[in-house]
Symmetry: C2
Subunit: 219 residues, 2 copies
């Protein structure tokens, strides 16, 4: 694993062999393919081709199609939580912090459309891949506690209503943002509007922020 670190980024001569880079190319290609076609719809041949890797390598590094999916999904969860962690919620006024959180979630889904589809696939198979991932549980706990302390601070400062459950709030914030994107295709047909038009996006994020503020804030 720690091999060839020295040449990896310093040499000008093109690397013919680079395990780490190959793994990453496979993971990126897999993310795209799984997100586009779902777990069952994704084709390992397509992933290998798109990654400019051999299918044999895919099985060498990730054991199976499901192993590959698990790795992709775990990385995506780690990524969103990591970016969330970087939000400076603690040093903002409670209401601003809340709005920041809602807007972050929204913008994350826009910037990472694959995330939603991957999570949908995982739920279709009843979370079989992440069920036993203690890592995920740990980082999620941390996140809920963080929101709880934001809620507490807001109550102390007399701007938030008392008694709001942090988990329920988290779920609600995710809901109103996630649903809009995951169902944008049927939504566009049913409501006869382009869900991804800039004005539509603007209108929706405003509505979502209002929904959450009215739920949490006093008056």
């Amino acid at each position: 694993m720690p091999l060839e670190k020295s040449r990896a980024s310093s040499s000008t001569k093109k690397r013919v062999r680079d395990a780490e880079a190959t793994k990453l190319r496979i993971l990126e290609a897999a993310k795209k393919e799984f997100a586009r076609n779902g777990l069952e719809g994704a084709r390992v041949d397509t992933i290998a081709l798109d990654a400019k890797a051999n299918k044999r390598m895919l099985y060498h590094y990730f054991k199976s199609k499901d192993g590959l999916f698990r790795t992709v999904l775990e990385r995506e969860y780690l990524n969103i939580r990591e970016e969330e962690t970087r939000l400076d919620l603690e040093n903002l006024p409670p209401r601003t912090a809340l709005e920041t959180l809602v807007r972050f979630t929204w913008e994350y889904y826009i910037a990472n459309p694959e995330f939603i589809t991957l999570v949908n696939s995982e739920n279709l198979c009843q979370a079989a891949h992440i069920r036993n991932s203690p890592t995920l549980k740990t980082i999620s706990q941390k996140f809920v506690r963080r929101i709880q302390s934001l809620l507490d601070r807001g109550v102390r400062e007399n701007v938030f209503r008392d008694g709001i459950d942090a988990t329920q709030l988290n779920i609600t914030i995710a809901s109103i943002n996630y649903y809009y994107f995951t169902n944008r295709f049927t939504g566009s047909v049913i409501f006869e509007r382009n869900f991804t038009a800039p004005e539509a996006l603007e209108e929706r994020i405003s509505f979502n922020i209002e929904t959450i503020c009215r739920l949490v804030c006093k008056n």
Copy 2:
């Protein structure tokens, strides 16, 4: 199509041939299989077997796997809208009507878990099956107008805030209910609670009703 109406339900002698009944068995089996495994994951052989029909019949009636999926999905959309129509929103006080609507959506998803998964599949393929279904557009328009007039009435009676968009409200109501169910598996892992336990369900529907009332109602 109108053949054998007379014998279909009156004769005591068991029917060996019954096109309508076979179609229905296929549709029911398909709903189950598509909901459980997604569009790509579903197997036509499994559907035929479960429907106690021959695979050839499936292709005879529905042309293709996609044709079958389209039919299943359209029926599901018609069904939820039809049940919604039966809600007596017009004769209830605005706030009660709103709560009734939220609770209906929630309970519909509980009673019809397939609906959510089917819609997810349709969005994975970018609404390819329903894109050109005028029927769906028509019934959805009708529904939005109904909610708009509920909002208008609430404003007139001075219990609802002014200026709320009926479509945004519809999306939000669907969101907070839909998301909870579609992501119940990853949710149960991440938040370490059983999303489908009776107490959890009770807590969530209360929270959802509060979310919507705070969004729409004055004070």
